[in-house]
């Protein structure tokens, strides 16, 4: 009986502890991880060494352009160590960059912020399909997903784009965005006056 008990004890030792904590999902700008908010408190709650994490992340993203948002999945082990998985930048980042716009629309469906072709969409899909969550998707499914994301950003997907016409469109759009920003600022100031 004692031998069996001893075997059980040794088995218990070899079995690895399963961590049931959810993965920490966050977007961190490449090469710009800092110990302060919002990253610091997130890691602090999970008892991760913040300084070591920031140093590790910045070293891993050293060859990337600074400020590019990178979706990260951080799984924390029981011994306070962590596994860091860095994905490709979000689809919205790629779509906005391809369309040449800084921000999308506030009213998608009613106004167009920018335009991209189906070819652009295919090339972006080829990059995004490499991410672990999208590995099992087909290219067609990935493209359909990107079309819906583009629609929410206010980016129109077309077959062909004329460079001259698109240049004019971007110039007009710049003025509209500036006007919208001004209106938002005025609203904010009016609100401050009311509450103050």
């Amino acid at each position: 009986m004692s031998k069996a008990a001893g075997k059980l004890k040794s088995l218990k030792k070899t079995v690895e502890r399963v961590t049931h904590t959810s993965k920490l999902k966050t977007n961190i700008p490449a090469g710009m991880a800092a110990a302060g908010p919002p990253l610091g408190p997130m890691l602090g709650q999970r008892a991760i060494n913040i300084a070591a994490f920031c140093k590790d992340f910045n070293a891993k993203t050293a060859e990337m352009k600074e400020g590019v948002p990178l979706p990260c999945r951080i799984s924390v082990n029981s011994d306070r160590s962590y596994d860091l998985a860095i994905h490709h930048p979000p689809a919205t980042f790629f779509l906005k960059q391809a369309a040449g716009i800084q921000r999308g629309t506030m009213t998608p469906g009613k106004e167009v912020a920018g335009m991209i072709t189906l070819k652009h969409l295919y090339e972006i899909a080829a990059i995004k399909i490499q991410d672990p969550p999208n590995v099992l998707l087909t290219m067609q499914q990935m493209c359909e997903m990107l079309i819906s994301i583009a629609r929410t950003c206010g980016i129109k997907v077309v077959r062909e784009i004329d460079p001259a016409a698109y240049g004019e469109f971007l110039e007009e759009r710049k003025l509209i965005v500036e006007q919208q920003r001004r209106e938002l600022q005025e609203k904010r100031e009016a609100k401050m006056l009311r509450t103050g």
Partner: protein
């Protein structure tokens, strides 16, 4: 007596007041601000600042390249290839928006999924109208 006080007042104005005025100059000069950009400090350390990533403004480049596809410091953006190098299904994708139920084929999975979704939505709306 009055002349004496007047003399003292004049002496104070001419001798003591300028000296007091000069004393302010002997304070240590404030250290010059560093040339680099100072990081914002929050309660828990330096706040992660948002960097505005510049976008391409040249329309010709936007049309012929997938700008932003290369986010590494080295390398170039992907160049758009001719139509023949892309699959045929790419040109049949629906980019216009949601297709109405009438236009969908009743033998397809999408049709029945949409029908179920609309029925659920309608039932939920009707159940909301019930008073008790």
């Amino acid at each position: 007596m009055t002349s004496l006080t007047a003399v003292f007042q004049m002496a104070r104005q001419r001798l003591i007041a300028p000296a007091i005025g000069n004393w302010a100059r002997f304070y240590a000069a404030k250290p010059a601000a560093p040339a680099g950009k100072k990081k914002k400090l929050g309660k828990l350390g330096p706040i992660m600042e948002k960097k505005v990533i510049p976008v391409e403004t040249d329309a010709n480049k936007l049309v012929n390249y997938v700008c932003g596809s290369n986010y590494m410091k080295t390398g170039e953006d992907i160049k758009i290839k001719p139509d023949s190098e892309y699959p045929d299904w790419l040109w049949t994708l629906n980019t216009e928006g949601i297709v109405p139920l009438d236009e969908l084929d009743p033998n397809s999975k999408q049709y029945w999924r949409r029908l179920r979704k609309l029925a659920l939505r309608r039932n939920n709306q009707l159940s909301k109208l019930k008073k008790f």
